[in-house]
């Protein structure tokens, strides 16, 4: 009934404040965008967040503080009489106008930023992202590059991303570089990305629920200096080098086991279009929607039974023998 309650209230409030303060020190979160905008478009979104958040916190402190104060000041005590007023029209009007003005103030930069981040700038690098269950295909139409799951971009260059989908709605998201846009089948959405620093690795993932392995549809973005990027692009655009030695055996298996129905490796007869392009598979750091490291061990596990390790994966279990798997691993890893 009386005082202990309020000690508890203050304690609770202090605890909550501590919790939120600690949030800043929660350790490295690679998809944290709040404290790490790493490009101009991410920064635009972040700066308007900063204003809004500040205002929201101020209002929170004011209103909740007023609430707590009211509860303490007017709690029942013997002899207290409640006052008998019904309202205050001037106060009502003021309390309607003030929030309206604050919101109108917020609306202006909101709409400005909104338009800013949607205008395609001059000289943007063109990339088309096609989202599929449960991986990402990237095509650089001007550079002749097709790759999967790991996007490479040069520093300080705006990247104009066209986002499409082959099956259901997905959402392309690299938190430290930009907000999301959905990948909606039947239409093309666009997004602007730009990174400040070269030689960085940014994590991202699909943000729109898309089925069993929505959680497993991740991606990476690598940034480079302009020179390094051009080198990368040239390498990627080239056909695969002919397989030699131990890899040749794997190439045979690849071409005969049915992989070509879905996968493409430029420079061979494999020209499937529904699964990731594997021409330079060996140059990637991850695979299967960036959920596995590109190591011999993980690749072998995958080849043994894809749906078992990635629910809903469209790549079936081909019933390969261990020898076949080892050969394939050798071959695929050779595709630098």
């Amino acid at each position: 009934m009386g005082e202990p309650k309020f000690r508890r209230v203050w304690l609770g409030a202090a605890l909550a404040a501590l919790v939120f303060a600690l949030s800043g020190c929660a350790g490295d979160a690679p998809q944290d965008f709040l404290n790490h905008p790493e490009g101009p478009y991410a920064r635009e979104a972040d700066s308007i967040w900063d204003i809004t958040f500040f205002i929201a916190v101020a209002i929170f402190v004011l209103v909740e503080g007023l609430l707590v104060f009211t509860l303490v000041r007017f709690r029942h005590k013997p002899g207290r009489q409640a006052q008998d007023f019904h309202g205050n029209t001037r106060l009502e009007i003021a309390l309607t106008l003030v929030p309206t003005i604050i919101l109108a103030g917020l609306a202006v930069p909101t709409i400005q930023t909104l338009f800013d981040v949607s205008r395609e700038p001059e000289g943007a690098l063109q990339v088309t992202v096609t989202a599929k269950q449960f991986w990402w295909e990237y095509e650089y139409p001007d550079l002749g590059v097709i790759t999967a799951n790991e996007m490479h971009i040069p520093e300080d260059v705006p990247v104009f991303v066209r986002i499409e989908s082959d099956d259901v709605i997905h959402s392309f998201w690299v938190p430290r570089l930009a907000g999301t846009q959905d990948a909606v089948p039947g239409r093309t959405n666009t997004l602007l990305l730009q990174a400040d620093e070269p030689d960085q690795e940014y994590l991202g993932q699909c943000k729109e629920f898309c089925g069993l392995s929505h959680a497993n549809m991740r991606l990476k973005v690598f940034t480079h200096t302009q020179a390094d990027f051009e080198e990368w692009a040239a390498d990627q655009a080239a056909d695969a080098a002919p397989a030699t030695g131990a890899a040749a055996e794997g190439e045979q298996i690849f071409l005969e086991a049915g992989c070509v129905n879905c996968h493409a490796i430029r420079g061979t007869e494999a020209a499937g279009a529904t699964a990731p392009d594997l021409t330079h598979f060996g140059s990637r750091t991850t695979f299967a929607g960036a959920i596995f490291d590109n190591t011999e061990k993980d690749l072998a596990v995958w080849l043994r039974d894809p749906p078992a390790v990635k629910p809903g994966a469209l790549m079936p279990d081909y019933g390969l023998t261990e020898d076949q798997i080892q050969s394939l691993v050798t071959y695929l890893m050779s595709l630098e």
């Binding site: 979160a29 308007i48 007017f74 309202g87 009502e92 917020l106 709605i169 998201w173 089925g211």
Partner: protein, 621 residues
């Protein structure tokens, strides 16, 4: 157990007469009993939905969880959302509306008592239908929002149950909405003008109008989904030019008013609880009423704020950003008015007030985070992360659920004639308050640290482990609080303090009759002279509009002869036909034969029952 007796009949069959026992409950048309049925059912679903949440939290307590596999997880998070929205918050609101509306406006029952019973049975059967999917091939697994074309192409069968189950529940809601609108508009006691109605009644009216106009939109969307899945239609079929965004527009045109449907009754409850426990009139009654109406109307203009990342274009996004920001204004008005109600009061911290304060304090947070979502470029980061999950749990749990519990604790004595325990009530509140904040507070942080929604697992090294673990602890604390409530209920029934008519020194009409009320509610329909009429009769306060109101044309009060609506089988029978027909559609979808006959049988049962209902009189003399 009383058996159905025979009575002079004008209907097809002998009318049931039982007022007690199982048969009594199954044929009741008494709004008070129906309110209790709704409340008990909603609470059971609350526990089930809570269990689903516990499993979700167990799965997410650490990286690479193994408690639920991807398929089960998708079913659990879908059903958790569907359950909490359609089987808990909405029906619990209806439970309170059912019991309280006639009592607060001075009526003997609702306008259409059998329709009322029908609404309940359809709700119960709809919920059971939806849950039967767990045993018939798997529950819906495409999210409660069912975005096409995922929802139309999922080969698991759950989304067919989704399209039919929600349709059934929609029928219950629509019938209830019509009933409450007519009751509130047309059955007020003499002198009870619209501006003398308790705010809970006003909010129930606005909610009912929202239901009336929002349910048909989702009904169309669900029919289209069903036709695509079961009959190979093309509404969302990509190869035929079907547009997935059509689904989203229809869904959110319903979906946004839906969230106001969930919050307005709770806001109404808070508006009636605060004055009672501050012992002073509501601050700014007219402003609160108009703010509620404004929220209801403006709520139709914000739907695409759920679609900011869909690619509608900067112009559309700007328009919806503006409308979303401005709907915060009437909401703010309400919060200020509640503060004004407490200010200068003589505040007594009973459980109903604690829960109402929980509502206000948590809704402020949820409302503020909501405004941050309106900032479109920032929302592009926030959307589909746990930051959004935090927002809507703050408004729907911190808001609606806390508000509904405030109503339960407040009106429990009226329903059952006994108080809920004070001490246990406070324990319940604090456990729930702490557990809730522990579970959903950190979600703000996790969202901003990049954890997306609707993911059955997350890898190590994302920096999300600690807060996820904390949230799981919080979920168990919430579970404990729910059990505390159950203990309180049981203890109250066994040895709860007897309540009397007016345990809280209340202000509104319902406290002028006994607890629990007699079947006919009021011995004599009161003549209302003022807002908070009961309070003024008790305390003769000097109020501006103190003169007796002219008696309104219409509600002339009783003629001394109380006739009450008689029990009936037909609402239950008519309700049963509907899920039967739905199972018929499921059969067609699975191509196992017999579907059309089952549909016909279900529809025939409903048709004949409605026919019988139509020709039996409302009251058997």
């Amino acid at each position: 157990m009383a058996m159905a007796g025979t009575v002079a009949r004008r209907g097809l069959f002998a009318r049931p007469t039982a007022k007690t026992g199982v048969w009594g409950w199954m044929t009741t048309v008494d709004h008070k009993k129906i309110g209790i049925l709704y409340g008990v059912t909603a609470f059971v679903f609350f526990l089930i939905g809570g269990l689903e949440a516990i499993f979700i939290r167990l799965q997410l307590a650490g990286p690479n969880g193994k408690i639920l596999d991807a398929e089960l997880y998708n079913q659990f998070f879908t059903m958790h959302g569907l359950t909490m929205i359609f089987l808990v918050v909405m029906p619990m609101g209806v439970a309170l509306m059912n019991f309280m509306i006639p009592l607060m406006i001075g009526a003997r029952d609702v306008a259409f008592p059998r329709l009322n019973a029908f609404s309940y049975w359809v709700f119960l059967l709809g919920g059971l239908f939806l849950y039967s999917s767990f045993f018939l091939g798997g529950a819906p697994d495409g999210g409660w929002f069912g975005y096409a074309p995922l929802s139309t192409t999922l080969e698991t069968q759950g989304m067919t149950f989704y399209s039919l189950g929600l349709q059934i529940l929609g029928i219950a809601s629509l019938a209830g909405a019509v009933n409450f609108i007519v009751t509130i508009v047309n059955m007020r006691a003499p002198g009870m003008t619209m501006m003398r109605l308790p705010v809970f009644i006003w909010m129930s009216l606005v909610t009912s109008f929202l239901l009336l106009f929002a349910m048909p939109v989702i009904a169309v969307a669900l029919f289209q989904l069903m036709f695509d899945r079961v009959f190979d239609a093309n509404f969302f079929r990509l190869s035929a030019g079907g547009d997935p965004i059509l689904w989203q527009h229809l869904f959110w045109l319903f979906g946004h008013p839906e969230v106001y449907i969930m919050i307005l009754p709770a806001m109404g409850i808070v508006s009636d609880v605060l004055p009672t426990f501050a012992r002073k009139p509501l601050f700014g009654y007219a402003a609160l009423v108009f703010a509620g109406i404004a929220i209801g109307v403006m709520g139709w203009g914000v739907w695409a704020h759920h679609m900011f990342a869909v690619g509608l274009g900067p112009v559309a996004n700007s328009a919806f950003a503006l409308s979303t920001m401005f709907i915060a204004v009437p909401t703010g008005v309400k919060i200020f008015n509640w503060l004004g109600t407490l200010w200068g009061g003589d505040i007594r911290f009973k459980p109903p007030l604690l829960f109402a304060l929980g509502f206000v304090s948590m809704f402020i947070i949820g409302g503020l985070s909501g405004v941050t979502h309106a900032i479109v470029p920032s929302d592009a980061q926030q959307t589909d992360t746990y930051y959004i999950v935090a927002h809507f749990h703050y408004v729907l749990f911190g808001g609606a659920i806390f508000g509904l519990f405030a109503g339960l604790y407040y009106w429990w004595p009226k329903f059952f004639g006994r108080m809920l325990g004070d001490g246990i009530g406070k324990l319940h509140f604090w456990l729930m308050f702490i557990g809730f904040n522990l579970t959903f507070g950190p979600m703000h942080i996790l969202g901003l640290q990049g954890q997306p929604r609707r993911t059955y697992t997350y890898p190590e090294g994302m920096g999300w482990d600690v807060w996820n673990f904390v949230e799981t602890i919080g979920a168990f604390v919430i579970g404990l609080s729910a059990l505390t409530f159950l203990v309180n209920v049981v203890a109250s029934r066994r040895r709860g303090q007897e309540a009397g008519a007016d345990p809280w020194d209340g202000r509104t009409l319902e406290w002028s009759i006994s607890s629990p009320p007699p079947e006919h509610n009021f011995d004599e329909i009161p003549v209302v002279r003022d807002r908070d009429d009961f309070w003024h009769r008790k305390y003769r306060e000097n109020v501006p509009a103190g003169e007796p109101a002219p008696v309104i044309a219409g509600g002339a009060g009783d003629h001394g002869h109380i006739h009450l609506p008689s029990p009936s089988y037909f609402p239950l029978l008519a309700a049963i036909g509907i899920p039967i027909a739905a199972y018929g559609v499921v059969l067609i979808g699975r191509e196992v034969g017999g579907g059309p006959i089952v549909i016909a049988a279900g529809l025939l049962l409903t048709l004949l029952s409605v026919f019988g209902w139509a020709i039996e009189p409302g009251t058997e003399e």
